[in-house]
Amino acid sequence: MKTMKGLPICVALLGGLLPIAAAYGAGYTPVTAARLSNPEPENWLMTRGNYQGWSYSPLDQINAANVKKLVPVWAYSTGVNSGHQSPPIVNNGIMFVSTPSAQVIALDAKTGAPLWRYKRELPDDFSALHNTNRGVALYGDKVYVTGLEPVLVALDAKTGKVVWEATLEDYHQGYYSTMAPLIVKGKVMAGVSGGEFGVRGFVQAFDSETGKPVWKTYTVPAPGEPGSETWQTADTWKRGGASTWMTGNYDPDTNLTFWGTGNASPWFGDQRPGDNLYTSSTVAIDPDTGAIKAHFQYHWNDSWDWDEMNAPMVVDYKKDGKTVKGLLKPARNGYLYWLSRSSDGIGFVGATNYVKQDVFKSIDPKTGRPSYNADKVPGTGKKASFCPSLWGGKDWPFEAYNPKTGMVYIPANENHCGFLEGKVQEYVAGKWWTGVDIPDIGFTVAKDAKFFGDIQAWDVSAGKKVWDYKFEKSMAWGPILTTGGGLVFTGGTNDRKFRAFDASNGKLLWQVGTNSGITAPPSSYSVDGKQYIAVVSGWGVDPAFQQGLLHNLIPSWDAAVPEGGVIWVFALSE
């Protein structure tokens, strides 16, 4: 671990040679609730840029006219393999990047000089299905990260030393955690993974200073709690899923956090009759008390492993000439949802499919509840095929909203389908338990498909697709960043490229080849008046697994993309 601790003070006095002294200068700027509600354009204080989840940077020094002059200014190897999915978080010139195996690296955001590294010692016998980390959260003078085995860790932002740890759950029961925490008014909220291991999902809040648990809210109700009637067979709620593996968004006006929930467990709906609240849903949770104030379920009695893990973006839009205080979500199930938000409810406004989807027969115009084509619903001993595949119209990679263009940019995937047939699997704590073995998960592609990955731009108020950019030989696994300079940045392809598009018309303006495939969100920040675009390149986890399947289906595609994380930072050449 690189640290300057223990060196004599006389060295520090020798012209500020120590990176830590130089970078931290007068001190670390504490992150306050006010700053999180109104983040400065020159910083990137949380994984999706703002509480509303826009993945938008207002910075415009880099714009559509000059982006072709973007060059790498520094790079840094994380020293870790597996899928890197976290954005560079920046607070006044200090950058924090989390990596697989729950490490955190702090660097000088301008020069790339390393400041400290936190490396977690994981138990010998622990393994996670998805070895990744989706980012740190900042509050006060601390940096918060989930520790993979499901713990929440608070680090001192200046030194990387552990201040406190709080256990979320027991990994022997199949729980793990990869998500970036959400911090609202001094409460640090974390969720868990394990939807393939028979867990019961929850969100838990801890005091940011002490790590003491404040409240814990399950996303599957127990008997007697509201929604429990949607688990008709006794005890199915105990292992019902609804994992909480992506960070929530927050609306300060209604004081509500919005959380996405994962697939229902096991994977086959007929093994747990009922709507199965709150699986494949958005739940609104009061950050002060943990109470569930509202919910919206995208598809009931899930049988396709279509998690709805991403929280919807908090976006206001126009509908029939009136402004709607809204929520916007391109769902894994292949539909783009327009919803409304208020202090006591989430309303359905409309939905349009953004990829081919053959499961829904219709959607109720008032409630948003779909009806299903029976032959597209897998069951126990009943094989069924469906489009899109279990990875959905999009998976977890973030969409982005640009308030200047009024558009939402979606990393979509087309021309892939799946099939599943369920069986009753014996439950053993900590073991894969879905009703189907991994080798039997069906995945197919349309043989004559002209494209797969598809960056789609939709005018939010008009409800129409404006442009799209198709990838002929790759899926799109890149979260999107959009900027005030009129740009859309994304990686996500198996050719290891990082690209910039004109946000208004989708024209490809710039690209660069990196070391590996990019599945992490880009971020933007500025130091001493100069704007930077930063992204971590490091392939792995589901995109890697899927690439192997794609190679079997389309032999001309490489079976693998090289792994290994590198932080890339770009700026305009002088």
Partner: protein, 205 residues
């Protein structure tokens, strides 16, 4: 019994022994359900805790899954030519199942002794070989069996291991062989002959 209680009360070995005895009685009722009681992973002196101790000479094995979950594995329970059975070692005198660490999970398979490589044969008995069931790639269970290639298959990313040839990697991303656990057969029961050869586990984390 939960993690917090145990950690908060570490004073004195008498306390440790009492809790181990409690655990044994709990285990006898949940034997074979594969439930790992979590707090033993934080005990510093693991040698004192039989559940987390690695497989030891003389241990028997119990089934992790299926109709015979929790029962002692006999040679006749293992189908000749595969598939493998997942097992945890069991300390025979106190019937303590060593499921305190997932790294103790093994797979047993019975093959034709004449088809075994010299190294595999040297650690086998009546054609029974035992290997770590933890894939050396990212730690998933090597619980599947491929009938066309007669190889052990990891559920997660498709790594395959040849049980006749000391669990050599024959396909997929696993970087190395599965650790081998020498076994012998005593009165028809499969028994641990000596400690793991090679280290069970994986490199990524």
């Amino acid at each position: 019994m939960n993690k917090k209680t145990f950690e908060g009360n570490k004073a004195g070995c008498e306390d440790c022994q009492r809790r181990v005895a409690q655990r044994r009685s709990v285990l006898k009722t949940v034997l074979g359900l594969g439930v790992s009681l979590p707090f033993f992973d934080v005990v510093a002196a693991q040698a004192k805790d039989p559940a987390a101790t690695p497989p030891t000479a003389g241990d028997q094995f119990v089934f992790v899954l299926g109709d015979k979950k929790g029962e002692v594995i006999k040679v006749e329970d293992l189908a000749l030519g595969g598939p493998q059975q997942l097992a945890y070692p069991m300390e025979p005198t106190g019937s303590v199942v060593r499921d305190g660490s997932r790294l103790n999970q093994v797979l047993l398979i019975r093959l034709d002794p004449e088809q075994l490589s010299p190294e595999a044969k040297a650690n086998s008995s009546e054609g029974v070989v035992a290997y770590s069931a933890i894939c050396t790639h990212q730690g998933c269970d090597v619980s599947q069996w491929k009938t066309d290639t007669n190889t052990l298959l990891c559920v997660c990313h498709g790594s395959e291991f040849d049980p006749k040839d000391r669990a050599k990697v024959t396909f997929g991303p696993a970087p190395r062989r599965l650790a081998m656990l020498p076994v012998k057969v005593v009165d028809g029961v499969v028994v641990v002959a000596s400690a793991f050869k090679g280290k069970p586990g994986f490199m990524d984390l």
